[in-house]
Each structure stands twice: as C-alpha cells, then as structure tokens.
Symmetry: C2
Subunit: 397 residues, 2 copies
Amino acid sequence: MPAEGASESALPLVYSAFMSRKAQGVAAGPPTLEDVARVAGVSRATVSRVVNGIRNVDPAIQEAVRAAVAQTGYTPNRAARSLVTRRAETIALVVSGAGDDSVEEQAAFASRVFSDPFFGRVTGGVIGYLRPRSMHPVLMFAETAEARDQVVAYLRQGSADGALVVSTHAGDPLPGMLAAAALPAVLFARPVDQVPISYVDLAHRDGARLAAEHLLARGCRRLATISGPLDVPAGQDRLTGFRDALARHGHGYVPVAEGGFTRDSGEEAMTRLLAEHPGLDGVFAANDLMAQGACRVLRAHGRRIPEDVAVVGFDDSSVAAVCDPPLTTVRQPVEDMAAEMARLLQERIEGRGGDTTGGDTGGIGSADQTDGTAGTGDDAEIRAVIFEPELVVRASA
Amino acid sequence: MPAEGASESALPLVYSAFMSRKAQGVAAGPPTLEDVARVAGVSRATVSRVVNGIRNVDPAIQEAVRAAVAQTGYTPNRAARSLVTRRAETIALVVSGAGDDSVEEQAAFASRVFSDPFFGRVTGGVIGYLRPRSMHPVLMFAETAEARDQVVAYLRQGSADGALVVSTHAGDPLPGMLAAAALPAVLFARPVDQVPISYVDLAHRDGARLAAEHLLARGCRRLATISGPLDVPAGQDRLTGFRDALARHGHGYVPVAEGGFTRDSGEEAMTRLLAEHPGLDGVFAANDLMAQGACRVLRAHGRRIPEDVAVVGFDDSSVAAVCDPPLTTVRQPVEDMAAEMARLLQERIEGRGGDTTGGDTGGIGSADQTDGTAGTGDDAEIRAVIFEPELVVRASA
DNA sequence: TTGAAAGCGCTAACAT
DNA sequence: ATGTTAGCGCTTTCAA
C-alpha cells in the first residue's frame, strides 16, 4: 500500500498541484477542499469539519475557514462525498402503476397521471419539504414491469437513498418489491395488500361522514353516492364511511354507482344513478373529478345544483373551485401529507436521526401511530401517519 | 507524491481487503469491480472496459466477465464513476417562473403549474427519452430568486450535467443566468430576450394560419381571436399568424381580446368579445384552456357551437377532448418537443457525441436550424429545432 | 484541537 | 489485449 515517503512528499505534492492548477493558469475547475485548505492555511480535514458543522474546531480557525470558503466559492462535490458516506443525498419520487401492461405508452401514462391535479399537489408538497434541505427529487415512472425493475435497481445501487411512492392502481407490485429488497420507502396511502412499509393516509371514513352529515343537515333525504373503485382502500373507506354515517341517522339504504376516480366515470355513474333514482336530491362523489362529471350530467338533465340536487365532492383539488357550481368538498391536505412522506423517509434513511418536531406539518389533527399489522419481524420502523379531512363548503351543497 | 513500493504492496493490499470483506464474513455491501474482477480472474481495468463497452477485449474474457457480473449482481457505483468522469449522469428538469416574488408559496406554484396539462406532457416526453438511456430527471422549481440560485448552484457543483428549462412567464431570468454561467441548458420555446441557449419551439404562425384557414373554409366571416399574453413569443406569434392569414384572404381587421392562457382569462376575454361583437361566428383561442372557457361563455350566452359560433383552440392538450363540445384545435407535439430538448441537451453535454439519427422523433416536419441571431461569440452550438403544428378537427369547428 | 493518511469504487493513462 | 497505477474530492480513523 502506498504509505511511505509521506511527510517528505506531501508538501511538493501540494505545491505541484497548486502550480499546475492555479499558477500555470490552467482552468482549475471548481474549488476543492484542498483549495480552501490552502487559502485558510489549515488541513483538508479541518475544512471538512467546519463544512460539516462538527464541533471541536477553534472558533478563530472556524472563521478563517468560513472566509476561505466564501472567497473561493467552494461547494462540496456530491460525488466525492457520496462515495465515502455511502449516501446519494437524493430521493426518488415514484409514480407507480399496476400490472405488467408493457405495451402501454409511458408518454400517455405521464399525461394521464398529471391530468389528475392530485399529483401536482404531491409534487409540490414533496418539493416544499425537500428544497429547504437542498435536496431535489428524482422523478420516476413505474408503470411497467421493466420500469419497476429500473426503480429497484436505481435504489439498490445507491443512486437514491429511498423512494416516495404514489400508486395509481390497486395491486401495485412495487411496494412489495421495495419491501423485499429492504429499501427505504414511504407510500402515499395504505397499500391494498399488507406490505411492511410506512405510509401516510387520510381518515377517509371521517371525511365521508362529514359529507353525509352536511348533506343531511341541509335537508337532503334521497341520497346516493358515486364511489371510487372498490378494490382500493380509499374507494372502500369513503363508501363505508358514507354508508355508516347515514345508517347512524336512520338511512339504511344508499344507492351506489361505482366510478374510477375519473371525470368520465363520474358522468357515467351519475347517468346510471339518475336513471334508477330520478328523485334523488343529494349526491356524494368520492372525488372532485367525478363530482364534476356528475354536475355536468345533472345540469344536462335539467337539475339545478344545489337546489334540486346537492353535490359534495372529495379532495378539494383544483377542479373543485373551477367546477360549475364551485364544489362543496372534503379537503384532503395532500401537500402536507406529501411533506410528511418525505419527512418519514428521511427519518428512515437516517435511521432514527430525524427531527421529531417536524411532524404534523400543518396537518390538522394528524395522528402518528405504529402500524400493528402482521409484521415481518422488522416492522418496528413501520409507521402510519393519518391525516384528518375537513369540510369545505362552496356552492354545490 | 506517493509512488514507490507499489508492486510489492499491491498483492497484500488486495489480499487483506479480500480477507476483511469476504472471508471474515463481514457484510460486504454491494459487489464492486474488484469483486467481479476476482471472480472473473482478470483485473479491474478489464472489467471496467467490458462494462463500459470498450473494444479491444478478448471475446472469451469478455464472456467470462459478463458471467462474473451476472453472478455477483454487480452494478457500477454512480458516485465513484462520477467522481472520475466528472459527469453526474443526471439532468435537471426545471419549471421556471419569473420575477422575484419570493413571497409566493411554492406549493401553490406546483399546483398551478401542474394544473396546466402542458407540463405533464413535457414530463412525459422527457422521461420517454431519458429512461431508455437509464437516466432520470431531477425535478426542480425555480419560481423565486432563491430557487433560481439553487438551480445554478446545483448545476455548478456538478450534481446535474445540464438543465431542461420550461418557463411559465416572460422575462424569466433563469435562462440568462444559465447562459452566463456557461451551463448546458435547453429551453422549451424561444426566450423573449435573446439568450444564447438552444431551444425547441413550434411554428406558431403556421398553426394560427391553419386555424384561420379552417375557420374560413367552414364559412365563418365574422372572426375574432382570444390571444395569449402578448409579451411572450408564443402569444405574439399565434396572433400575428392568425391576423396575417386572414389578411391574405381579405380580412383586414380582427377583434382581439388578450388572455393569459388560463381558463378564467379565456372566459373573460370571450365575454368582452361577445359584448362588443355579438354577431361573431368564429373564434380562435390561442390555447385550449382559453378555448374551453370561451365555450362555456358562449353556451351561457345561448350560442350553439359550432352552428352559431365555431371555436378553434391550440395545443391539443387533454382538455381539448373533454371540452364540451370536443375542441377542434391545433396540435403541438409537446412530447416530441420535450424529447428533442433532452436529446439536444445530451448532445451539448457530450460535446458533439450525440446520435444524429435521433432527431425528428415523430415530429412531423420539424426543422433543425442554427440560430442566426446576435451571438456572444460561442454560439456555434446554439441550436433551434422548430416543430410543425397540425390541425385536429373535432366538433367545435 | 489539528493534521496525516488511508481509502470509498471507479476510470484512464501508461506499461507491458 | 491486459494489467498496473495514479488519482477524482471527500470523510474519517488514528496520531500527535
């Protein structure tokens, strides 16, 4: 190993490097620790300590180093640091689809995904948390088997330290793959099949109850609901919550039309509902997009909203405000939830080093709980943070 | 410099590393080149050559190495590679806003940005190009002065090799900053102020002409237009193109109402237009969102579309199809344009190494031209790729 | 408290 | 055609 002849060659080495890079006028590239150290008249190690905020550094020297950093315009080289710390200081934001429909064009996937205002909000929340910590997410789509493998490979080789996963479908295999590989990850919403991964979610039942009570309070008596897909928890829970709340008020039966969380499916569902129950006077749609579709159909059938039929949506996404009429809806604090995802992931990556104070970032009534489901043994770290929804009253109900 | 005692200490070094890592049963972490080399019975350099697809390697050895790679499950460590190649193998996808309105909440910015279907398409196109090359974009927002500085710093320190920039406003300072720092970047759309940076764009005038001719051909004679913001080239050019085309057909005057590319502004503009020109029978809106707003207002005023008033939009975004009625519009191949941006950037980063065959990725009639504008001397590399629009006829006109 | 030195895993001369 | 070797810029023992 190259070890001897050090104290003798160190100075010449530094000198020659200095000569060849600075004095000889060669374009020197960005300043390195070495440069800062030379300017400050200390060793690389000391500069490193100051830069990384490690104690045990003489205040005077600390000041000198800081000045040298400013003077040279030094910024740590991420690759070099990553190489030794084994941290990429990068996280992946994964938008994940289900199945292995490899035929699907991913450009279409992207457009479809982002046509739902939901993902923009998630992105905003994630960036809102990450950016102050000077981190930026790597955006990945995982709609095919191949793409999923790429995501796992990317994480496994350490290009990113962990993943924030937003699934668009039930039965997404990615969470399971991530868990199996023991890769740090946090999900938006509880996965259908039990997977030992932390997640953030909304108290969907409570939200649906809010909608039911509001409809009841404004005098509606012939209620119906356009549910989300019933194979995903959010769809199920919103339906169950609505039903239960009505039952508690003596309404034992509620017509249900299942939708797919898209505007089109909302229109179709509303059409069916109207055909079978022309006398209905209130509708709860499991998301705003479907509520918007429902409004369209209702108006087309000559119903006034909310006079003839009151409509309540869910999410309080951007379409809620532009809907005609503006939608009364149940607010899901997506941005806060996304930020919390990022926080949980960072906590997991740093292995219990996180700021405990960072929780409940504006999330009203959010609760932190350890998931008590069947574990794989190492589920001590599996966490679920549930946020509370809120009713936003506008014109539609 | 540490140079002597090499051939003597090399073997023990390798041996001890081997002992401490594999034989002693210590968790060895991901396999390294070293591991593969040992398994294949060759040197690290040879493995590196095979992995990087460099010729001059004996086919037999090549096979052995490949087998060893498969056996060990080796994946190159990106940090180590970056450190020596000085390439991050990462590019930034920047959504940029203007001004220094630091008060603006970025979560709001994110939602607003993604509420326009345009950005989803850009994202899809970029990922579509990058992913087959196993690259993934880092998503950054640059809506405040601070955020812009972060973007520049991120690139300067080499965390990303270049930036794809999509500006939301005129007068965005980011392109200028990037150019000044000589950082590789490609813009979507020509910047208002001349900046020496490559960009992709659409032949807006041609698109507007298509709209004008279609409207004329279907018999409309009292035309009006809802323009985009006139301080951005796209807004200007679409208006100019429309005007010129009409002029060529003898229509010297066209009522114009300026909008801001949002649905709301489209509604307002349409309302004004209708008030001043109740007899109009055809409208060209400079984008689909505004066309949608216009349709709403027209219907509210009892006009049938297209019988009473024909409407043509621009973009062929996702709203075009869901509009009531479905919008006849001018298609902008955003995904292809975004992919081309990525290709141009890669070409620029690799300094003339790019695949020349990759151009015109489905872009019909796209043209590649060297920008002949006032240069800063080094504009030999500044390129502009202009795509041709296409008319998509649906129900609204 | 500070510095010297050993690498992290990889690529790229430079020798064979 | 293959191997040897010197780092890339950084963190981190280990000495002093």
